[in-house]
């Protein structure tokens, strides 16, 4: 076994433990809260029922974090395919899917023609899902939310960009942006696992590429990733 095989096996076992051992108590918290509500709900007043609902919703949040961690740890070692990925089609699919699940969203999303590139179709889809989800989330409080997606071809790579006109962030925190469970916006203002951009970074790195952000507080943000040409 090579060192990387050992590491992959450890990660596999880590993600197995997480999904099995951590989920059981979360499931119990949610299940028993529900049982309490069913059997004793009539004896609780409004405040009691509100407190119980908080317990459930926080447990559900833990479940979401576990999902994220499992996805993240699998990303590091799952085998990658290398096919020609039509990025324009992929980005449009993600945007359309989003529109179908959130018909009330008023975010305008513009997608320019994006060059195709060699890579893993499923993983690159996750990149678009996370970047588009982030951009629409952080621009959602603007009066006219807008997301723009475009690309530029350079001699050795293609740079893909997702810009939003949302809250932006202070570039002093840009290092934290791609870390696990890091959020540059505090509290409950924007819901999220804090894993989306860590997932993006890991996928792009596995393709031999790079990710970065450019933003200013209150002036929107642009998230970019570059993928090398000539892999396939």
């Amino acid at each position: 076994m090579t060192e990387s095989d050992v590491l992959a096996a450890e990660l596999e076992s880590f993600s197995y433990s997480i999904s099995h051992d951590l989920r059981a108590p979360v499931r119990a918290i949610i299940g028993f809260s529900r049982a309490l509500e069913d059997d004793y709900g009539v004896r609780l007043d409004d405040e009691g029922r509100r407190l119980l609902a908080v317990v459930v919703s926080e447990a559900e949040r833990i479940d979401g974090l576990i999902d994220g961690l499992v996805v993240f740890s699998r990303l590091g070692h799952q085998p990658m395919e290398n096919v020609l990925v039509e990025m324009s089609v992929l980005a449009r699919e993600v945007v359309n899917e989003r529109a179908n699940t959130r018909p009330s969203s008023d975010v305008v999303i513009e997608i320019a023609d994006l060059p195709s590139i060699s890579g893993d179709h499923v993983l690159l889809r996750k990149v678009w899902e996370n970047l588009i989800s982030n951009a629409t989330k952080f621009s959602s409080l603007q009066p006219a939310p807008r997301v723009t997606i475009w690309a530029s071809q350079e001699p050795t790579r293609i740079v893909y960009n997702v810009r939003d006109n949302g809250v932006g962030f202070d570039m002093a925190y840009s290092e934290k942006l791609f870390g696990i469970f890091q959020k540059v916006h505090g509290g409950d203002r924007f819901a999220g696992s804090g894993l989306g951009l860590a997932i993006v970074k890991r996928i792009v790195h596995r393709h031999g590429g790079a990710v970065w952000a450019d933003a200013a507080l209150g002036e929107g943000a642009t998230l970019s990733f570059a993928l090398p040409l000539g892999r396939g």
């Binding site: 949610i30 028993f32 049982a35």
Partner: protein, 147 residues
């Protein structure tokens, strides 16, 4: 006739909370009259084979379905499936794996060994209740097994 006869569902689950929730779901939807809870694979095999504490059980009576967790102390779920499917008498008892794991290798291995169903325990309580009710309904009322 002992208290262990006419058991309709054998629930094999080491996690007390999961076991209680599953039995509660079965009770709520009024599907199973008699559920036997085995706390690990060893106890499950003792029950099925009428050995150990279950020696006095009627040897011709089997549950209509076994709900089986995979990760358990002493003897895990995959070993229970191997043991039951290797025996001509017990191989016809339907086994539905109910586990937290949605790992592809567990699903593949369970089916390779001959399980009849594989369900990942939902975290949401409504979905959990519904999954248990659906499993119970199908294996107790819809399905037929050889006599």
């Amino acid at each position: 006739m002992t208290e262990y006869d006419d058991v309709e569902i054998l629930l094999v689950e080491d996690n007390r909370q999961d076991a209680e929730m599953t039995m509660r779901a079965l009770r709520k939807c009024k599907i199973a009259n008699k559920v036997q809870w085995a706390k690990d694979g060893v106890e499950a095999l003792n029950f099925i084979r009428c050995t150990g504490e279950f020696e006095s059980r009627n040897k011709n009576s089997f549950p209509k379905v076994i709900l089986l967790d995979l990760k358990m102390p002493r003897l895990d779920g995959l070993d229970v499936i191997r043991a039951l499917k290797a025996d001509e008498v017990t191989r016809k008892i339907p086994i539905v794996v109910m586990t937290s794991s949605n790992q592809e290798r567990d699903v593949t291995e369970s089916y390779r060994l001959g399980v009849n169903g594989y369900v990942t325990k939902p975290v949401q309580s409504a979905a959990f209740m519904e999954a248990v009710a659906n499993i119970g309904m199908f294996w107790l009322f819809v399905n037929s097994t050889p006599v």
